[in-house]
Amino acid sequence: MTRYTPLDYIGRNKPVWCAGCGDYGVLTALFNVFSQKKIDAKNVAIISGIGCSGRLPDFIKAYGFHGAHGRALPIAIGVKVANPSLNVFVVGGDGDGLSIGAGHFPHAARKNIDMTYILMDNSLFGMTKGQFSPTSPCKFESGSSPYGTLEEPMDPIALSLIYGSTFVARGYSGPSKLNDLINLIRQAMEHKGFSFIHVLSPCITYNKVVTFQSLNAQVVDIDEKHEITDRNEALALALREEKLYVGLFYKITKPTFGERLITISEKCGKRGLDIERLYVNFT
């Protein structure tokens, strides 16, 4: 690439999202982060599952993998481990990441893979036309819950903290917080380790409860005094029910999976391919 304006990262396909969908905010933020950091798109891989949010890789100039519903994290781990020099992003919805993909999230986080996971949360399944999701509020009425949901919503921030992510933040795709979102994504990308950003990204077509309007009234910036290296404090902040905090909850440094892999290779003394030594196993 020779130019790095946000427009230079526009992908081959026009977004198929409804006009006004929260996901445009995330896309715009990514354009801006890439531009700010003058990222060469050839070094970016964006891995997604299935959902409205999962269509993002089609709309951005970068390598992408639009695989199976809920499997973006394992695929991304493969990408990053195979080529540690790539900037790896995972994007997907609340259903993709917390419903069908719920089993992969803890394992990606605790490995501290050096990548950024952006969970675009609209509190329902947009792509399949509006059924409730793991983050739908209590008693949420939807096509599959016409009398209201029966379960309590999951809190992606708390989960991510317990799972061992080393960078945990919440952003909001509403215009008022777009700059903050850009900053969060940039910091996440700069962070060495597993960074998780929970983005409140409303579905304007199916969600009549969690909307830009409702969120504008709820989101509150995290206090500047918040100690981002204290996991218990971060958890307490996440679990406080009255407020919906946005900003950086937690950030610490730990060896990444890649770094630990290198120590293993070193333990093995980089012996190289010595066939005769291998054959000793069998003689």
């Binding site: 991304a76 493969g78 195979a82 394992h107 333990k267």
Partner: protein, 575 residues
């Protein structure tokens, strides 16, 4: 005079049967003999009958043997259980004193060498668990297997358990040897004598797959443990990091294949191995691999099914799943190695085909093949050819069509980080650029492209093995691990003048149609031996070639013996 014999060590899970078998195996191999092992054990960690069988001799061995020449029974139950398989004039080493009477129909003819195994281990060595070493000592003496060779194998295999354990093991070994020396009454006919050092490796099917993968340049392995595929992972976990590779234990099989697809997308040769339940879980992503055209290799070491089934038993019942598993019409390649050496070659084929055609390749091994050890020639690195993925040139990058429609169906694949060939590996139906597209004509075109890739494969590799008389009216056609028993049976039949031709395709999808049609053409009787209940391969052959075949199915979790095949063919020929 037979040129080989069969030793079976039988006991209970937890009595160290496998360890003793492995020690004898290695000692025999180092003494220059060929090896073919066969073992059975329960799915539980403790309890239940277990046995380790070693066929050994001067020539190449292809099946586990029809019966047992030397039976070593570590306890009375094992003796009763296994005696029926011992030859009439076989050698029996059981736990007891010379006075011990056998309540078996064979007891007259069998050479009975009771050894007070438990007594020696518990009292003289002072460690009950050393029973297996006592037995090895006796075997060393009676079969004339070099004492010092066994001794050094014992050292290698057990020294990391501490010097105390090693000492006790060596003592037990010596006491077993000495007891046999003193008490043997007749000359023992099972003495293959010294034969000189061999250059061969003695290696299991799973190890051969792992070694082959490593030598093919594969540097990424992700899997989830499952019997009987776990040892493949454990070997790679030890060896891959040393050559700069990575082994990841994923949280489940879906994740394992996901990681493999990610690694391959990023340009690595990558694979996973599992057994039936894991393959079932992987089929959704196999469809993605086929749709998004991601090279990938999946080994299925089959076990008894369905469900959790019989985890430690063998079966060939995942063929249908390998051929058809996943929704939609999804092209893929299915390979079936026929023996341990072939495992090594087929995984090299798998990587080459998968890289060349950008398809998922499934290798169907099974528990018996995965866990048995055979003597194989030393592979030479220089002989291994490696296919490369087609990459886009600089001009192609400009208007890059990841899924460009080409005559062969294969399109150049860009690799992240290498150049500006941005594209989205796409699980939705897509146009040439990878953009989602639901146009009817496009779907047909793209499906045809993905299947076109299968057309040229028969020209690529030696896809089958064929032997016997071409004009024979009786044919045997099978797949995978049954080949050895079939070959042993064939040789007997051939020697006896029965005209038989044998065909084993190594690629089950796409089948080598021309060769098979030729083979089937003038056969009157076509036997299709399979270790499954429904005759999955027989059904495939019928569907593809509209030819009546005679299925021979066993479904008990253990491999065919050559005798079973031999008898069936004789019966068919003499009908």
């Amino acid at each position: 005079m037979p040129t080989d014999y069969v030793i079976r060590i039988a006991g209970e899970s937890g009595e160290g049967i496998v360890l003793s078998g492995e020690i004898v195996t290695l000692a025999l191999s180092r003494s220059g003999f060929n090896i073919f092992t066969f073992s059975t054990y329960p799915a539980e960690v403790r309890g239940g009958p277990s046995m380790f069988q070693i066929r050994t001799g001067a020539n190449r061995l292809r099946s586990q043997g029809d019966s047992v020449d030397i039976l070593v029974a570590l306890n009375d139950d094992a003796c009763d259980e296994n005696l029926k398989d011992l030859n009439e004039d076989g050698l029996l080493i059981c736990d007891g004193t010379p006075e011990k009477q056998l309540n078996s129909p064979f007891d007259k003819k069998v050479i009975n060498c009771p050894i007070p195994i438990t007594e020696i281990a518990s009292k003289e060595v002072g460690v009950y668990r050393c029973k297996n070493m006592v037995v090895i000592g006796a075997l060393s003496n009676l079969l004339n297997i070099d004492y010092s060779i066994i001794e050094s194998v014992i050292k290698e295999k057990t020294s990391r358990k501490g010097s105390h354990v090693l000492e006790k093991n060596l003592l037990a070994f010596k006491l077993g040897f000495d007891y046999a020396e003193i008490h043997k009454t007749k000359p023992i006919p099972y003495n293959l004598g010294p034969i000189g050092k061999s250059e061969k490796l003695v290696i299991s099917g799973n190890e051969a797959l792992a070694l082959g993968a490593l030598m093919s340049g594969c540097r990424f392995y992700a899997a989830y443990p499952i019997t009987p595929a776990t040892d493949l992972m454990e070997w790679l976990a030890l060896e891959l990091p040393g050559v700069g590779g990575v082994v990841i234990q994923a949280e489940d099989e879906i994740s394992a294949l996901g990681m493999v697809l990610g690694a391959s997308f990023a340009g690595q040769k990558a694979f996973t191995a599992t057994s039936g339940p894991g393959l079932s879980l992987m089929v959704e992503l196999i469809g993605i691999a086929s749709m998004a055209e991601i090279p990938s290799v999946i080994v299925d070491v089959q076990r008894g099914g369905p469900g959790t089934g019989m985890p430690t038993k063998t079966e060939q019942s995942d063929l249908n799943l390998a051929l058809y598993g996943t929704h939609g019409d999804a092209s893929r390649i299915v390979l079936a190695p026929t023996n341990v050496e072939d495992c090594f070659f087929q995984i090299i084929n798998a990587f080459n085909l998968s890289e060349k055609y950008q398809l998922p390749v499934i290798i169907l091994s099974d528990q018996s093949l995965g866990h048995r050890k055979e003597s194989i020639r030393r592979p030479v690195m220089a002989d291994i050819k490696q296919s490369k993925r087609l990459r886009p040139g600089d001009d192609e990058i400009k208007d890059y069509r990841r899924y460009g429609l080409t005559p062969a169906g294969v399109s150049p694949m860009a690799i992240p980080g290498e150049n500006a060939g941005y594209y989205v590996a796409q699980g939705l139906e897509h146009d040439e650029y990878g953009s989602p597209c639901y146009d009817p004509e496009n779907h047909l075109r793209m499906t045809a492209k993905r299947f076109r890739k299968l057309q040229n494969i028969s020209g690529d590799i030696n896809m089958f093995e064929k032997y016997g008389k071409q004009d024979a009216s009786t044919g045997i056609i099978g797949w995978g691990s049954t080949e050895g028993a079939v070959r042993d049976a064939f040789e007997r039949l051939d020697a006896e003048g029965y005209g038989v031709e044998v065909f084993y395709p190594k690629v089950l999808n796409p089948l080598p149609d021309k060769a098979i049609r030729n083979f089937l053409k003038n056969k009157k009787t076509i036997l299709v031996p399979e270790i499954n209940y429904t005759g999955q391969f027989a059904m495939l052959l019928r569907g593809k070639y509209l030819k009546q075949v005679t299925p021979l199915n066993i479904c008990g979790g253990i491999p065919f013996t050559a005798k079973e095949i031999y008898s069936k063919v004789r019966e068919l020929c003499n009908r």
